[in-house]
Symmetry: C2
Subunit: 426 residues, 2 copies
């Protein structure tokens, strides 16, 4: 992992300083303008460690935004490629990488920033993040199965596991918000920073890609580090207690990162599903009914029959002869590793809320995201189990289903998303 973004020597100048030094309205070459900066306003909370702590390193063996301690907000965009040119696709991925690297450091997407080369230029950066902090922005890119068709010569490199997820029982999928050739997952503690990053990349791809669907996540509903508290989902329950944490190095290596010697080595598969929560129905259930659906208590998030959130799930204990402490079809049991041949995943989902449906019910729920080394072993196994048996199915509706292969990270400032894939198919 490089020192990108962490080194004091790379700290950008202030935007005001940059403009004062260069002259407003004067054309600027890239070489003289690397300091375009956004750090002039206030964003969300300022964690211990100051501004450096707001920058997530971009370069590395793995992409940022996977095991990164989960940020509070997310904007996710799926795109279709509309050019048939392999070279244009490759150049776009290079451009995106460079822009995302800059934005992760709190810089504008390119040196000229949102003011452009001069007043008669169309600027690359759209400007709405000027003044905002880096806010731990990460941008994570993935390739959908459809990218590996005949268009770009990538078919020979399609990983065997990169295929559309199966239709699970009960799925009510909307094709318009499923799948895509590419995806951009932008996460940050400030939603405007996340929205800006994805939008700028979309703009950079104008004429080459179109947005297929997009989803805002207003609040994280998982934790990916033992440093984070467990947030609550819109059912009011703590969500993600048993999630993989980035500190569990061995489990992360086994269940998140691909190790296959191909271009995907060091990458991970992103599985995304929009899970509408039928809140009006849920809200009519007693606490007992809700707790038996989850297998955990509502207040503490403890396993039923236990007191503390972190207590192990007593899957094999019974209420005398009245049945198991954790009901047979409770969500926490069915989703657990023991019930799925040891399957584990790194969940990184977000609560969402839109408008209302035709019945006046809130269009709200969980935008589920999981990163896995093997979609088959770590995701499909678990989802199949849940879709067949989970008591929670009465209260949710699976509305979309997508899978993307997220390549390894750019290892240095010359590297770019997908270089290995293009090299392997050259």
């Amino acid at each position: 992992m490089s020192q990108d973004g962490k080194s004091g020597g790379l700290r950008p100048l202030s935007r005001r300083g940059f403009l004062a030094g260069a002259g407003i309205g004067v054309g600027l070459g890239a070489a003289g303008a690397v300091g375009a900066d956004r750090f002039t306003g206030s964003g969300d909370g300022d964690p211990a460690g100051g501004e450096d702590a707001l920058i997530v390193p971009f370069n590395g063996a793995h992409q940022a935004g996977i095991t990164t301690a989960q940020q509070e907000r997310m904007y996710f965009v799926a795109l279709d490629v509309v050019t048939d040119s392999r070279e244009e696709l490759r150049d776009l991925l290079r451009t995106w990488t460079t822009m995302a690297r800059r934005m992760s450091r709190g810089l504008e997407a390119e040196p000229e920033g949102s003011v452009g080369v001069d007043r008669d230029t169309v600027a690359t950066d759209t400007g709405e993040a000027v003044g905002l902090r880096p806010a731990r922005l990460t941008v994570t890119v993935g390739f959908g199965p459809s990218l590996f068709d005949e268009r770009f010569g990538l078919a020979p490199a399609r990983p065997e596991e990169l295929e559309d997820l199966p239709r699970f029982p009960g799925d009510q999928l909307d094709e318009r918000i499923s799948r895509g050739d590419l995806c951009i997952q932008a996460c940050a503690d400030d939603p405007q920073v996340a929205v800006h990053a994805a939008r700028v990349l979309v703009k950079a791809g104008s004429g080459l890609v179109t947005v297929r669907w997009a989803q805002l996540g207003f609040g994280r509903t998982a934790s990916t580090s033992i440093e984070q508290g467990t947030p609550r989902n819109l059912f009011g329950f703590k969500d993600g207690t048993a999630n993989l944490k980035n500190e569990y190095t061995n489990l992360i290596n086994e269940h998140v990162w691909v190790h296959d010697g191909s271009w995907m080595d060091g990458g991970s598969y992103l599985c995304a599903r929009r899970i509408r929560m039928l809140l009006e129905n849920w809200d009519r259930q007693t606490r007992r009914e809700q707790e038996e659906v989850f297998g955990r208590t509502k207040d503490e998030g403890a396993p039923l029959g236990r007191e503390h959130e972190e207590d192990p799930m007593p899957f094999n204990e019974w209420h005398g002869t009245d049945g198991p402490l954790i009901p047979a079809h409770a969500h926490s049991r069915l989703a657990s590793a023991p019930a799925n041949d040891g399957a584990r995943m790194l969940r990184r989902g977000y609560n969402f809320v839109g408008g209302v449906d035709d019945y006046g019910h809130l269009d709200a729920g969980l935008f589920f995201i999981a990163f896995v080394a093997s979609p088959r072993d770590d995701f499909i196994t678990v989802q199949s189990n849940l879709s067949h048996h989970d008591n929670m199915n009465a209260f949710v509706r699976y509305e979309s289903s997508s899978i993307f292969a997220c390549p390894p990270g750019p290892v240095d400032d010359d590297d770019w998303w997908g270089r290995g894939l293009f090299d392997q198919t050259a």
Copy 2:
């Protein structure tokens, strides 16, 4: 204004302490359970002043959430009343007031909280804000013109100015996201706190009200206090430089608060419009073109021909004979008080982003909210001017239009939203 929420003596117990003292699963009367609390996790930033600074006083001559320094996030819900019972509507408003007062202090909506009276109870609070801080939550309620029809005996008290906004030139309104009998504007620095508050009130109105439409605002795009920086809208420009600030007491009194001796005395009219921004079109414009649309510079937000954001607009200065410094149809000129017979409004809008439209364009923009003492003088005058002449019209689409009368605040713990209206029509 009462000491509600500001007094150390009212600081709630911790949720854990409450449960330990009362016994989990034991039925609790309201009297023994006033301490149900949410302060156990971490929310967004912790401002100077500690947790007390995260509580906005609820009781007062005016409702909170109008001149309150604008919070970062918003969830707005418009509802239709489906009962014909005046008494049920009145009781609902009473219940809502009590619940909102508690939630503003970081408490659950009622003393039993999300755990309910016992395990076989359907709880009132849905629980997803347990562990979150008050986050400066405000809940502001308004009454639409349609509430004053024959159903509830309120017609004699309909203010003359409370009528559907006129259709302005260029409006492309969607009825399904316009108007409503009631509205709830929930604002907080943590979106989950705002979403929770509105959802709990909707749940409390089950069978009496249905949600007509809802809108999440992910980031403020105005400032209502001189203590706040000016945020940027999705066009990348600073938005709200010339907005009324809550420190401008005389202007607020004149242009925000109603003074008519009726039940609306101390209240304000809320005008809301969903303004889709055609970002793909905007993003193709040069900086010069964009700046001439606004009449301000993109980087500093300064009036054209000036250097600093706070410099007065030079409406009467010319570039020699080349035309005015601020173009005749620039947004900032057309929206200004001098161009509108002195009209002013308190804007409190939010950026939004949804999915994509049928053309793959981002469904994003500004959910515009303004509070005014006189819709006719302070809002319609300005909007009419903009709708006829604003150069920005090429880049926006007005998709919804709504007006609500927000009554004065509950002055003490026995008072409730709309009491004056019901008394006046008793």
